[in-house]
Amino acid sequence: MKVLVVDDEPQIRRALRTSLEAHGYEVATVGTGDEGVVGAAGGAPDLVLLDLGLPDMDGTEVIRRVRAFSEVPIIVLSVRESQDDKVAALDAGADDYVTKPFAMEELLARTRAALRRASPEEPAPPAMRFGELEIDVAKRLVSIGDEPIHLTPTEYSLLEALVTNPGKLLTHQWLLRKVWGQGYGTETTYLRTYIRTLRKKLGDDASRPALIITEPGVGYRWVAEPGP
């Protein structure tokens, strides 16, 4: 697995290289946005770790250019202060973000999740289990234990959008367009209402979330790991 690190700080590049290599990744590092775009095109990485604060180019611009020719997963590294940049990066096509300073285990977990989404080892199973919760994607059926859960078509579409992007932070805009259609994007109240109903029906407590995590002002993330 090849990871391209785009960051202008040599210390960060060094720390990332050391840690990623220790986990068996092949690492290439560059320090500018231009080199990043070139590296993403020529190096055929499996994943890009992109710092938003680059000296030569806005990180969001790098994402746009890479997205023109590649669907490679991009994880954005950004400082807490640039919340708007984060949302812009996600809307531009980034897969996830990690806030600097980050814990290595968190970055590795996000990396694994992004790689898994990008190249599923097997085609999406017709049914997924998350503990008691079972979602049969083929039949569009949801049950907890053996108790069937009735979802409206919209609720089901929303759930499907979430579970088919496990671990990914899905922005309000992305979810609205995915579930309601291209004409939507700012109707966060709809989205919130449906998320709330969905949580209730699935028995997920937002203040002790096991399935869906809220990122205030940004979006939602499906966090449950598949398994019995």
Partner: protein, 481 residues
């Protein structure tokens, strides 16, 4: 003042007519009496007429007395010898006439002087009252523009002005004040009085009477100048006060900066020291750490890094606040949803503190910056958890309060003494009993800045049974409050 003027004029014109009337009345009565007492001899008639002249002079002044004395002379000559007519007076009657006139003049002058004296005293009293009023008003330590506004307003009435304005330059700043009386036609006689402090001209006062009024008398002009001097003194004083206040503010700010600087330096250095100590210990080839010791050291480094990160984040926020860059990016957001996310995040920290979150399902959405409100709730909740004893409970309660959403975060920790409740919102303030490990003293300051930027308020509430409750309110709509 036009009214006052007219009154004064009436008072001056009035006595002359009244004097003549009273004088004549006195003489008619005196003449009647003299006629009635004629049998008693001419001496008594002269005495009665003299009384009439005196009364006329006292009540009617000089002219009243003169008229009365002339009439009395005629009456006397008619009484003494009616056949001779007016011109054929005997020398005796002529002497009486001269005496009458002399008495009338002397008494009239004395009485007139007294009246003038009384008028002057009354005017001086009015002037003193005006100047006294001005000096108390203008020396009250108010700002120069307030002083001037008051000043021009006060002058309108006593000087009978249609408008009064002041234009001055104070420390390079132009200050203007103007007052007008409604319903008065402008364009009357105008007085311009320079405003001078020491020998420095500050500007001028322009006083205008309504069209058609007479110009000011010399006395009035002098009074206006005195009042203007009073205002100049007040202005100078206000200007010096403002300078002193600025200097004081400057001193306080630099004091605060010094405190901030030492606090920040200390707070930044402490975690750095721990990190450096931990890492150099691990790198030390001569030291033999077992696996558990290594992990301990590394955990210390991790904790201190997090602390440093929080502190730097807070300092950056504070800098943003100070730079006025903390502008909420409002969108419709559900504060209950934000609270749920914050509670979920803080629960992950795994402290032995229970967190209860309660809100009504009908809680409305509010136009807030979700990221900033997240930060406020995070700061309050992290504070509450940090100050809770192990096994304690933190209660987060959300309610609608009129056109606002109210959040209350209550812990069962040691609480905040009443006298510290305002101060806890100041940057770098830590409770007197706060342990070294407490927060940076910035969390509440940042929370307050965000809440205030949303048009809301934040405060410490009384709690029954100890502990601290911090509550804040943000309006549902941007325009509310």
């Amino acid at each position: 003042m036009a009214r006052t003027d007219r009154q004064t004029e009436r008072r001056r014109a009035g006595p002359t007519f009244r004097a003549a009337a009273v004088g004549l009345l006195a003489i008619v009565v005196a003449g009647a009496l003299a006629y009635a007492t004629e049998p008693l001899g001419e001496g008594s008639a002269v005495a009665v007429l003299m009384l009439g002249v005196t009364i006329a002079a006292v009540t009617g002044g000089l002219w009243g007395g003169v008229v009365a004395s002339l009439v009395s002379s005629v009456v006397l000559s008619l009484l003494s010898d009616p056949e001779q007519g007016l011109l054929g007076s005997e020398p005796r009657d002529l002497i009486a006439a001269v005496v009458f006139l002399a008495v009338a003049v002397v008494v009239g002058l004395v009485v007139g002087n007294a009246a003038d004296e009384r008028d002057r005293a009354a005017r001086r009293e009015r002037e003193a009252r005006l100047l006294g009023y001005l000096s108390t008003k203008t020396l009250s330590g108010e700002l120069p523009d307030r002083v001037l506004d008051e000043f021009v307003q006060v002058l309108l009435e006593p000087f009978g002005l249609s408008s009064c304005r002041v234009d001055v330059t104070l420390d390079g700043t132009d200050v203007h004040a103007k007052a007008e009386r409604e319903g008065e036609r402008p364009g009357g006689p105008t007085e311009i009085v320079p405003i001078v402090v020491g020998s420095v001209p500050l500007g001028s006062l322009i006083a205008e009477r309504p069209a058609g009024r007479r110009p000011m008398t010399r006395d009035e002009r002098a009074l206006l100048e005195a009042a203007t001097r009073q205002a100049a003194v007040a202005l100078d004083r206000a200007r010096l006060d403002a300078r002193a206040r600025l200097a004081q503010l400057d001193a306080e700010t630099s004091q605060l900066r010094a405190a901030m600087f030492s606090s920040v330096t200390h707070d930044l250095r402490t975690p750095l020291a721990s990190i450096k100590a931990g890492v150099t210990s691990l790198l030390d080839r001569g030291a033999h750490h077992d696996a558990e010791q290594q992990r301990d050291l590394l955990l210390t480094v991790l904790e201190e890094t997090d602390r440093l990160n929080r502190l730097v984040g807070n300092i950056l926020d504070l800098a943003k606040i100070r730079a006025g860059a903390l502008i909420p990016r409002r969108s419709r957001a559900a504060i209950d949803e934000i609270a749920e996310a914050v509670v979920a995040r803080v629960r992950q920290h795994g402290r032995d503190v229970a967190i209860e979150l309660a809100f009504a399902p009908t809680l409305p959405e509010a136009a807030v910056d979700p990221v900033q409100i997240d930060q406020v709730l995070s700061n309050l909740l992290e504070n509450a958890v940090r100050h809770s004893p192990p096994g304690g409970t933190v209660r987060v309660h959300l309610t609608q309060a009129g056109r606002a959403v109210r959040a209350r975060v209550a812990d069962v920790g040691p609480g905040i003494p009443a006298e510290e409740r305002e101060k806890v919102f100041d940057a770098f303030y830590r409770g007197k009993e706060a342990p070294e490990s407490a927060g940076s003293g910035l969390g509440l300051a940042i929370a307050r800045a965000i809440v205030v930027a949303h048009g809301g308020r934040i405060w410490i509430e009384e709690t029954t049974g100890g502990g601290t409750a911090v509550a804040f309110e943000v309006p549902l709509e941007e325009s509310v409050l």
